[in-house]
């Protein structure tokens, strides 16, 4: 998994980079906030970002704010690195950070928190994928709903152009349903049997003539 490490202080940045690389992460580094913001806007941006709070150009909190206010960016899980006190942590989380780690950091804690981040982004991505799938499916479904005016005798349905349609024509036009025609047992008795009978009797009459 790709992770961005943004810190202007080279020793800590190198340590973060080496620690994460040894755990199998693909690490991208940035030396200041502006560079971090550029990396995160890329279509190929990492989905995890560790941002130092104090950086020249643009601080970590401002990067957070921009990421959260931008539209069309990937799902990015942001961890702020801070040496500052509790009230700053609140500011960072309100700016849109998902988590924070205090400096100097504990490697095991960092990895555990990154795993949380990976889990969260994975879930969010899966959810977004399902929503897109559902939206695509919905756009294909023709809707058949509301009050349909139907003739009580012939069962035709009045359409929007004030024209009376056969039920099957109407439903075919307004949904993805199709019809195959058959005869139910009741109608067989009522309509088809008399017809067949009359056909069988007609030739007899003819032959008798």
């Amino acid at each position: 998994m790709k992770v961005l490490v943004a810190d202007d202080e080279p020793v800590s940045r190198r340590l973060l980079e080496a620690t994460l690389a040894s755990k199998g992460y693909e690490v991208v580094t940035a030396g200041d906030g502006l560079e971090a913001w550029r990396v995160l806007q890329d279509t190929n941006a990492p989905s995890l970002a560790i941002l130092d709070w104090m950086m020249p150009g643009m601080d970590g909190v401002e990067v957070c704010r921009r990421v959260r206010n931008a539209t069309g960016l990937k799902v990015i899980y942001i961890i702020l690195l801070t040496v500052k006190g509790r009230e700053h942590v609140v500011e960072g989380l309100q700016a849109g950070a998902d988590d924070y780690i205090t400096k100097p950091f504990d490697p095991a804690e960092l990895e555990a928190r990154l795993q949380v981040g990976a889990r969260v982004t994975d879930l969010q991505n899966k959810l977004a994928e399902r929503v897109t799938e559902l939206e695509a499916a919905l756009s294909h479904v023709k809707q058949l709903r509301g009050l349909l005016p139907m003739c009580s005798y012939c069962k035709k349905i009045r359409n929007d152009e004030n024209y009376w349609d056969q039920v099957e024509n109407y439903i075919t036009k307004h949904s993805d349903a199709e019809f195959s025609h058959g005869i139910c047992p009741e109608c067989y008795e009522k309509f088809l049997k008399p017809q067949l009978r009359s056909r069988q009797t007609t030739p007899k009459k003819k032959s008798g003539q």
Binding site: V11, L15, T19, M54, P104
Partner: protein, 123 residues
């Protein structure tokens, strides 16, 4: 971890002296915000190095950066409070302390490379 430590020492020796020069320029120019940023930066680098060195050595860091870290912190809080009074004195203390840390790191680098550990001016 020891490999990382050697890399971090190189990184510190390559970058921190320039930070210190920038800090001197900022003190001379009376730029409180810049002093604070550089002191913060130096503190971060020293604290990180100290911590890794102590975890490699089982709790006892040869870097002995406590004093350097403390001086950086003092610079930071003075700047946050808006007071640059005495910053020249603080700076020279910090420079002296930095030099001690730098020498300890350099001699470790030399001994690692199989060079004699004395002879300070060979850098």
């Amino acid at each position: 971890m020891e490999e990382i430590l050697d890399e971090l020492i190189d990184c510190f020796l390559d970058t921190a002296p320039a930070r210190l020069l920038e800090l001197r320029a900022a003190v001379q120019g009376g730029d409180a915000e810049e002093i604070r940023r550089l002191a913060h930066n130096l503190r971060g680098a020293s604290a990180t190095l100290d911590r890794v060195a102590s975890s490699v050595a089982g709790g006892n860091s040869f870097v002995e950066a406590d004093c350097l870290i403390e001086l950086c912190t003092m610079f930071e809080s003075a700047c946050s409070a808006g007071s640059l009074e005495g910053s020249e004195v603080l700076l020279s203390k910090l420079e002296n302390e930095f030099e001690r840390v730098r020498q300890r790191l350099s001699s470790r680098r030399r001994s690692k490379a199989g060079l004699p550990s004395d002879g300070g001016s060979a850098e």
